[in-house]
């Protein structure tokens, strides 16, 4: 097998609630995980097992206390736990993609601009970026009449599909997916499965959370059980 592109070693994450009596909540205890190019690892476990916390840590949205998260970018390894903000920003631009559970709505920005933005930030021409955005929005069945509108007034499922289009616009080598199919109908769920399989084929390393067993079976190469870690700790 090829070398991994994502390597998590001995990762610990604890929340300390300073304004609530200093309560500490350990969520990740000694996580080890390696993900290879073209592989999809599904995080599995009951609510509260730390799936989303791990995924957010992999995007440097959460800051772990101990351990490392190495991501390969070109021929360089960058550790998200110790990297400088500008290194992480650079990594997010080129290498590391993330589809969150909910779209964070930006007031007044049209759907087409939201979806094409990651590509424009990479220096792709506006025309090419929009072309890709149109393709993704069409595949995800967002009616063309809505492309020029800001998604603030869209339904939950429509916002989620805009969010997915946004996350898949760049061919990131590492892709993190937090329940991308949660609020979708069967047809759109299948489109997302197709997008994930295509990303695997081009060599993306994927880590995701999928509650839908049918989706999980189609995309997962491996299931990473979070409960086991909690029990063992």
């Amino acid at each position: 097998m090829t070398d991994p592109v994502l390597r998590v070693e001995d990762l610990y994450k604890t929340f300390t609630l300073h304004n609530q009596g200093g309560v500490t909540l350990p969520v990740l205890r000694g996580i080890d995980l390696a993900v290879h190019a073209g592989e999809c690892v599904v995080l599995h476990g009951p609510s509260g097992a730390g799936k989303s916390s791990l995924l957010r840590s992999l995007y440097a949205n959460y800051l772990p206390q101990r351990g490392s998260i190495h991501i390969r970018s070109d021929d360089e390894w960058i550790d998200l736990v110790t990297a400088e903000p500008h290194q992480i920003l650079e990594l997010r631009k080129h290498t590391l993609g993330y589809v969150s559970q909910f779209l964070r709505v930006i007031p007044r920005v049209p759907t087409l601009d939201i979806v094409s933005e990651p590509l424009r930030n990479l220096g792709v021409t506006p025309e090419q970026a929009e072309e890709k955005a149109r393709t993704l929005l069409s595949r995800l069945r967002i009616p063309e009449a809505m492309w020029s509108l800001a998604p603030a007034t869209f339904s939950g499922g429509e916002q989620q599909r805009v969010n997915i289009a946004h996350g898949f616009s760049v061919d990131y080598p590492v892709l993190l997916l937090d329940e991308p199919t949660a609020s979708l109908d069967a047809e759109n769920r299948q489109t997302v499965v197709d997008l994930i399989l295509e990303a695997k084929t081009r060599g993306a390393a994927i880590v995701g959370i999928f509650h839908d067993a049918e989706v999980r079976e189609q995309v997962a190469d491996r299931v990473f059980s979070m409960q086991a870690y909690k029990d063992a700790a």
Partner: protein, 260 residues
């Protein structure tokens, strides 16, 4: 990532004392080209003092601010001769004040407010100046039939947009903003935020924005500095600081925001 980048601005251990009182203390950071840095904290935390120290308007008691200009020269702001500093603030920097009255000339026309910045950097051709001014008013969504009106006849939101046009017309590389959306209605704020966001991305600007509004930095800033009582208590990626705050004060700040 393959090209190691040089910081645009290096801030080294800046402190500003007002007699025995602390304005800001031991502030250290690097700003990279194309980055937007947010400085947050409650009133009196030293945000504006720090911004003034960074933008060559208030000499710090100790520490240094170094800036890399277009030619790659490093300028030590408070060591450089006054003329050099003045040239820098005119050509490389922009300053957007919280109160548009501090950044605009209220009794000359909107067009002149924008045009005179071009003349300050050596533009002489009247037709060209007027054309560029009109173009910039259009970019900040001020209709061209208002070009000859004075800013005192504008609404607060329009004045703020005019101030932004006046600052950006000369093509600065770094813009300092002090509460740019303060005192505006939420709908006007949203419009201004969207405009700023677009301009920063399209022009590849770097910016340092002082605000007490966490929603503003969430939208605009890549990185965040949290200040309390003159000191930096937390520093990091914007979304990391807001979603996983480490310091007790940041946790308090984030949990105190009212969700509409």
């Amino acid at each position: 990532m393959t090209t190691p980048r040089q910081p645009l601005m290096q801030v080294n251990d800046i402190s500003k004392m007002y007699g025995g009182r602390v304005g800001c203390r031991n502030v250290d950071f690097d700003l990279y080209s194309g980055e937007v840095l947010g400085i947050v904290g409650e009133s009196g935390s030293g945000k504006t003092t720090l911004l003034n120290c960074l933008s060559a308007r208030l000499e710090p008691t100790s520490g240094s601010v170094k800036y890399r200009d277009r030619t790659g020269d490093i300028i030590n702001i408070y060591q450089a001769p006054e003329s050099r500093r003045r040239m820098l603030t005119r050509t490389d920097w922009g300053i957007v004040h919280q109160n548009p009255r501090d950044g605009l000339r209220m009794r000359v026309s909107a067009g002149a407010n924008v045009g005179e910045r071009l003349m300050a950097v050596g533009e002489r051709h009247y037709g060209g100046i007027r054309e560029t001014a009109t173009d910039w008013l259009d970019r900040v969504e001020i209709s061209d039939d208002r070009i000859d009106d004075k800013p005192i006849t504008f609404s607060g939101g329009m004045q703020q947009r005019l101030q932004i046009a006046r600052n950006l017309v000369s093509g600065p590389r770094l813009v300092f903003m002090d509460e740019p959306t303060g005192g505006l209605d939420v709908s006007v704020q949203a419009r201004l935020l969207d405009l700023l966001r677009r301009l920063v991305t399209d022009l590849g600007l770097s910016a340092i924005i002082v605000t007490h509004d966490l929603a503003v930095v969430r939208l605009l800033a890549h990185r965040l500095i949290v200040m309390r009582q003159g000191e930096v208590v937390e520093h990091g990626l914007t979304d990391q600081v807001l979603d996983d705050p480490q310091h007790p004060y940041t946790q308090l700040l984030v949990s105190s925001v009212l969700q509409p």
